[in-house]
């Protein structure tokens, strides 16, 4: 899978928040085989670089880091946070979040498009956290995004793919844009379902971090992502209404 010109081995992206400890986070990352880790920047940490101990632990895992603007509610806040993140992490990659609603953490898609344009012009390579809306997706691509990350369900809910039709449409409309389902994944079956739809990757955090055994769950997601991708490439059958016997009738003994 190629994202902004970088070849990534794994189709699982993992967030780094909410784990019981950094040691368990490190073990979970290894078990997941994740190719990219997202890291949120607390602005107070970024300014004084006092959060460097935690970043140091993540850097030591030798996995590509995707900084994000988690918790930003305005274009200005997101742009400022992005600039700090670039300085702290030394990468132009950025997961862009502009939250529009405090309860659902739904993206503010208008602010998202605006921030994506500003940041792309500033040299960032933006991974926008968006909804499955096709028109917003068009605007994000016009703004310079070369990857799209629609939600499966609101962040942290674990509800899975809330709008399979919308996600399928998005895939059909953008066959050549890398698409990553970001947020709402609760179980490995959700991740497999996203991959079976032809999504290029999934991004999740809470489902692993808050599991009773995060390391085992990370391994389960690794398998599910691989299974879903393999199934997609194997061209699954279409569902149909009419039952069809899998054993041929021809040649069966006739008792009449």
């Amino acid at each position: 899978m190629e994202l902004y010109g970088v070849e990534i081995d794994s189709r699982l992206l993992l967030g780094t928040a909410q784990y019981p400890s950094p040691a368990i986070l490190a073990d979970a990352v290894r078990a997941s085989g994740a190719g990219i880790l997202t890291v949120s920047l607390r602005r107070e940490s970024g300014r004084l670089r006092e959060g460097q101990d935690f970043w140091g632990l993540i850097a030591g895992l030798n996995v590509k880091v995707l900084p994000n603007t988690a918790g930003c509610h305005s274009v200005k806040e997101a742009v400022t946070t992005a600039q700090m993140a670039r300085e702290v992490f030394g990468t132009n990659w950025l997961k862009l979040e502009v939250i529009g609603d405090a309860d659902t953490l739904q993206p503010d898609v208008f602010g998202l498009v605006e921030a994506a344009r500003i940041l792309t012009e500033d040299g960032f390579e933006v991974f926008p956290y968006t909804t499955e809306d096709l028109v917003v997706a068009e605007r994000l691509i016009e703004a310079g995004c070369k990857v799209l990350m629609p939600w499966g369900a609101p962040i942290g809910t674990g509800m899975g793919l809330n709008n399979v039709y919308g996600l399928r449409s998005l895939r059909a409309h953008f066959p050549d844009v890398p698409l990553v389902v970001d947020a709402g994944i609760g179980k490995p079956s959700h991740a497999a379902a996203a991959m079976e739809l032809g999504y290029d990757a999934v991004l999740l955090n809470t489902a692993v971090a808050k599991a009773g055994d995060p390391v085992a769950m990370a391994g389960a997601f690794k398998l599910a992502v691989e299974a879903g991708r393999t199934a997609y490439l194997a061209d699954p059958i279409e569902p149909r209404d009419m039952a069809a016997p899998s054993t041929p009738v021809f040649g069966r003994a006739s008792l009449a």
Partner: protein, 337 residues
């Protein structure tokens, strides 16, 4: 009479004072060096909640907190006044009842309560929560009173604290040194990190709790610890940062919103204090007691200063005074004499 082993303890936070008292009780001549002007002035344990809650903490901590916590439940009442063994109550808003189920799956030694059960324990919460978990074997204390109690206990045992002294392990006098400086000793541990915490103290006479109450919330895990004189400690944030400036508005808003959700009377409480500090933590969030030459380090107590310091103090005293861990031939000879 045998000559006493002279031990210098660096730091008069909870790790330093528990270690100093444990050493003095085992016969050592103990001097504590503290950079602050008085106990607590520059110790992160001054900001602690003071919950002795190993079974609750197991929700997100390793199994080792339970054994260490059981030591603490015996050690503290034997050393200071004011340890209240009334358990811990855990509740969640109806919307977040799944959080309560999850908490129950990860923990042990609790009773499941219905709304009447919650009200029977804490009458001020009557009608507010339909279910809860009660951890009857847990306890709490006032960290500031407990540190003062240890200071007095140490003095009674003949130990002393020298304030306003910045010292490191190499320069300290004594047969042995125990470095309990927390995050200030980070040069000794490349993998020690800071985890920032913010807390408030409020005062209200409209609420009376017998025990710490935890409110589960998917975004803001929150607890209230009752103290004397209508005071309540509200805590605490967990931020991967070693920054020491005062509490930020967002954290204070989150903590106060949670308090208000627990009981609306907190809306009228007086804000007495806000405070932020940095917890020392290792990657597994468990403490270490480690001896290098004549220096024993106690560090990484994370959010478990009062819960795990007694077990660490015992291990440190074993390392300094116990015959198996003796690193100094001279000390061994002296004690035999």
């Amino acid at each position: 009479m045998a000559a006493q082993t002279r031990v210098t303890v660096l730091g008069a936070g909870v790790a330093g004072l528990t270690t100093a008292v444990e050493l003095a009780e085992r016969g050592a001549d103990v001097t504590v060096l503290e950079r602050g002007a008085r106990v607590g002035e520059r110790a992160c344990s001054w900001s602690a909640g003071g919950m002795l809650a190993p079974w609750c903490e197991r929700e997100s901590a390793e199994e080792a907190v339970i054994a260490g916590g059981e030591v603490a439940l015996d050690w503290w009442p034997a050393h200071v006044d004011g340890v209240v063994r009334q358990g811990t109550l855990v509740v969640a808003p109806a919307r977040d009842s799944a959080e309560l189920a999850r908490f129950a799956r990860r923990t042990s030694r609790f009773e499941t309560l219905d709304g009447d059960g919650v009200a029977a324990l804490e009458p001020d919460l009557a009608g507010r929560f339909r279910s809860g978990l009660f951890f009857p074997d847990e306890a709490h204390l006032d960290p500031r009173a407990a540190l003062a109690g240890l200071e007095a206990r140490l003095a009674a045992l003949g130990g002393r604290i020298r304030f306003g002294v910045e010292a490191d392990a190499d320069g300290a006098e004594g047969d042995a040194v125990v470095d309990c400086r927390g995050f200030a000793a980070r040069e000794a541990f490349p993998d020690l990190r800071g985890v920032r915490g913010e807390m408030l103290v409020v005062r209200t006479r409209d609420i009376a709790f017998q025990r710490p109450v935890r409110l589960l919330h998917p975004r803001i895990p929150f607890y209230v610890v009752p103290r004397a004189d209508g005071l309540f400690m509200l805590g605490a944030t967990m931020i991967e940062s070693a920054e020491r400036r005062g509490p930020v508005v967002r954290s204070v808003v989150d903590l106060l919103n949670a308090a208000y959700a627990l009981h609306p009377a907190f809306g009228e409480a007086e804000i007495v204090e806000t405070r932020a500090d940095v917890r020392p933590a290792f990657p597994d969030n468990l403490p270490r007691v480690e001896t290098r030459g004549r220096v024993t380090y106690v560090n990484g107590l994370y959010r478990h200063g009062f819960l795990l310091s007694p077990a660490c103090a015992r291990a440190a005293a074993d390392a300094v005074l116990g015959p198996k861990e003796m690193s100094h031939e001279a000390d061994r000879e002296r004690r035999r004499a």
